[in-house]
């Protein structure tokens, strides 16, 4: 097997408290040792609830925030070792789209200028060719090329997300971090954008790190999935395996909580008690143990932190996990 396009190893991001109580306040362990790989043309879904650290993972990979520890190897280069100009070069191949296309587009720039900006910075095309390229990109994301002269406020949420995608594609990236790209969209528009992302991947062979809270959306787009809880991956593997037979009690609960638009399906509903604990004061042992309802839960769960170990085609961090065949 060839080397993966992106390899994240033991990524850690802690936020230190500031102010005069800082020395007494423990750091927020937003990301606490996350490792994964993404191959060329592949989509990895990174799933979890608010505050689990999934967005921080995406941002630290691009060095929009500097990691506390760990390494990210992209295309054979250690991203965390690059100087500013080398990082700029690397970012041409590594782009990001955000949840909120309203706040990620400059309201005073026309759509055409916003899309052209990256091409100009990286000198990807002679000036005269840029308008033609912008028009082709707009067409590729399903928008009228004439929209290049308009401003972001003239567009709906779904159209703005398409503009954000066109802007990211302008520099011909090999890898796209998609940070909750469809969460703010209505279902009918969400389906359009998901189909567009799938088509672009098929056509251009781009890899995606698809960050989302919605397992049904991830199932639609990702070949592999990693489930995060409190800054760590608790289960990972091929999407079909994880969603058909989740092994970690948290994945099981998350899956059972997904609302299914079909009143005839009878499903086991696991309602988790309480809220996720604070990432500045995680419980000892397994971070999930205070909310876990596994029948074999024992003293080890509250003292020893379970590490990811291989189970079937995936990995799981639970002392008692078993995947039913």
């Amino acid at each position: 097997m060839s080397a993966p396009l992106l390899e994240v190893r033991d990524l850690v991001k802690h936020y230190k408290a500031t102010g005069f109580l800082a020395r007494k306040t423990p750091p927020v362990r937003a990301v606490d040792g996350v490792s994964f790989t993404v191959g060329t043309g592949e989509t990895l879904g990174l799933v979890g609830e608010s505050g689990c650290g999934k967005s921080t993972v995406g941002r630290t990979i691009l060095r929009l925030q500097e990691a506390t520890a760990g390494s990210v190897c992209f295309d054979g280069k250690d991203l965390f070792a690059l100087d500013a100009s080398a990082l700029r070069q690397a970012r041409r191949r590594l782009q990001i789209i955000f949840q909120d296309p309203y706040s990620s587009l400059n309201p005073r720039m026309t759509v055409g200028d916003a899309i052209a900006e990256g091409m100009e910075i990286h000198r990807l095309a002679p000036r005269g060719e840029i308008p033609g390229r912008v028009a082709r990109l707009l067409e590729e994301v399903g928008l009228d090329p004439a929209y290049a002269a308009r401003y972001p406020h003239e567009f709906s949420g779904g159209q703005r997300q398409r503009i954000g995608i066109a802007r990211a594609l302008a520099v011909e990236p090999a890898f796209l971090v998609c940070d909750e790209p469809v969460s703010a969209l209505d279902v009918s528009v969400q389906a359009q954008v998901l189909n567009l992302l799938a088509d672009l991947q098929a056509r251009r062979g781009i890899s995606y790190l698809f960050i989302a809270h919605d397992l049904a959306v991830v199932r639609q787009i990702a070949q592999r999935v990693a489930v995060m809880y409190l800054g760590r991956i608790v289960e990972t593997g091929p999407t079909e395996d994880i969603l058909a037979r989740p092994a970690h009690p948290y994945t099981q609960a998350l899956l059972s909580a997904v609302p299914v638009p079909d009143p005839t399906t009878q499903r086991l509903r696991i309602v988790l008690p309480g809220d996720p604990p604070s990432p500045s004061n995680p419980p000892p042992g397994c971070p999930f143990h205070p909310r876990c309802a596994h029948p074999d839960k024992d003293a080890r769960c509250s003292s020893d932190r379970p590490l990811l170990h291989t189970l079937g085609r995936g990995q799981v961090a639970c002392h008692h996990a078993a995947r039913t065949p």
Partner: protein
């Protein structure tokens, strides 16, 4: 079942600089005692305005057009004076919103805010109101309710705040609870907790619920009946089992085909083409016809009335007139 709430031909008008619009345009439905009716639709379809109209909370310059009728057990809500309106608002009809942080007062404790609601509707002492507040916190399933009484909203998680909002709404023992996207801002596992709570309260108190949501998943297996809104109108209405078994309006079918599923084979999503038009630019004829895959020549001119599809199943679509599809 007798009708608790009847809404007849509700129209809401907004006079703006770009012209007069009717974001809610001829909506009729009823809710029986103890019934759960789900009002489903995408952003801008008028579902939240419809809910606000029931309590006469339409923000200016919006107005309810004369000729609309809202009756609570025969009482004409639109004809009430200020004092009589107060005897309905928050007393016989309670309401909870999407974002509990903005609906709670940040400078008062939870006990203060629940007690205020208790004392607004019953002549009881402050200490008796506090006891009642404690009972309500227990009823909505807040852990350590005695300590939580003196918490401020910012000390609680989103799920807890929504429980507090529900407690405030329950203080007056309403006959109808309007829940406007009550779980949209919450994580799925917390959403499952809140939905379970609403189900339990409804069963225990015999309270009717008008659930307003964009998510067909939370409707299935919960609502007694479903009404689907599009562009200011109810386009389809049926019992929940019937609607999911035989979705008939092309918009309802499109919505269901847009939702990614957690079970079954992963197939390409079938989104609805285009976007929801703005209330100032609603098309003539059937408002869905420009996006409809099944539109007939007459759809562009003739606005279809609500036609019967089956027993207690109606839709505004000419396909109903041409027999079962």
């Amino acid at each position: 079942m007798t009708a608790l709430l009847e809404v007849e031909d509700l129209r809401i008008t907004f006079a703006t600089r770009s012209g007069t619009s009717h974001p809610v345009d001829g909506v009729s439905f009823s809710v029986a005692r103890g019934e759960l009716l789900a009002l489903v639709g995408e952003s801008g379809c008028g579902k939240s305005l419809t809910a606000l109209a029931l309590l006469r909370l339409i923000p200016p310059p919006g107005q309810i057009v004369p000729g609309s009728a809202i009756r609570l057990e025969g009482t004409d809500v639109l004809a009430l004076g200020a004092a009589e309106l107060r005897s309905i608002r928050g007393r016989r009809i309670g309401m909870i919103f999407q974002d509990p942080m903005t609906s709670l007062n940040p400078v008062f404790t939870v006990a203060d805010q629940i007690s205020e609601s208790v004392r607004a509707h019953q002549r009881v002492s402050k200490s008796a109101a506090r006891v009642r507040a404690l009972e309500l916190l227990q009823e909505v399933g807040i852990p350590d309710p005695v300590e939580r009484l003196d918490n401020y909203p910012h000390q609680m998680s989103g799920g807890m705040r929504q429980r507090v909002m529900i407690a405030i709404a329950l203080a007056s023992e309403p006959e109808l609870l309007i829940a406007d996207e009550p779980t949209t801002a919450l994580d799925v596992t917390v959403q499952a907790q809140i939905l379970e709570l609403l189900d339990r309260l409804r069963a225990a108190r015999g309270m009717a619920i008008l659930l307003i949501t964009h998510d067909l998943g939370i409707v299935a297996g919960r609502a007694d009946r479903v009404a689907v809104m599009y562009a200011g109108r109810l386009v389809e209405e049926a019992t929940t089992a019937e609607l999911f078994a035989r979705p008939s309006h092309p918009y309802t079918k499109g919505l269901l085909a847009s939702v990614p599923r957690i079970t079954g084979a992963v197939t390409r999503l079938q989104p609805i083409a285009g976007t929801v038009p703005a209330p100032t630019a609603w098309p003539a004829g059937c408002r869905f016809h420009p996006r409809c895959p099944a539109s007939l020549p007459r759809c562009a001119d003739d606005d279809p009335p609500a036609l019967a599809v089956g027993d207690s199943h109606r839709m505004r679509c000419w396909l109903a007139a041409s027999g079962p599809s």
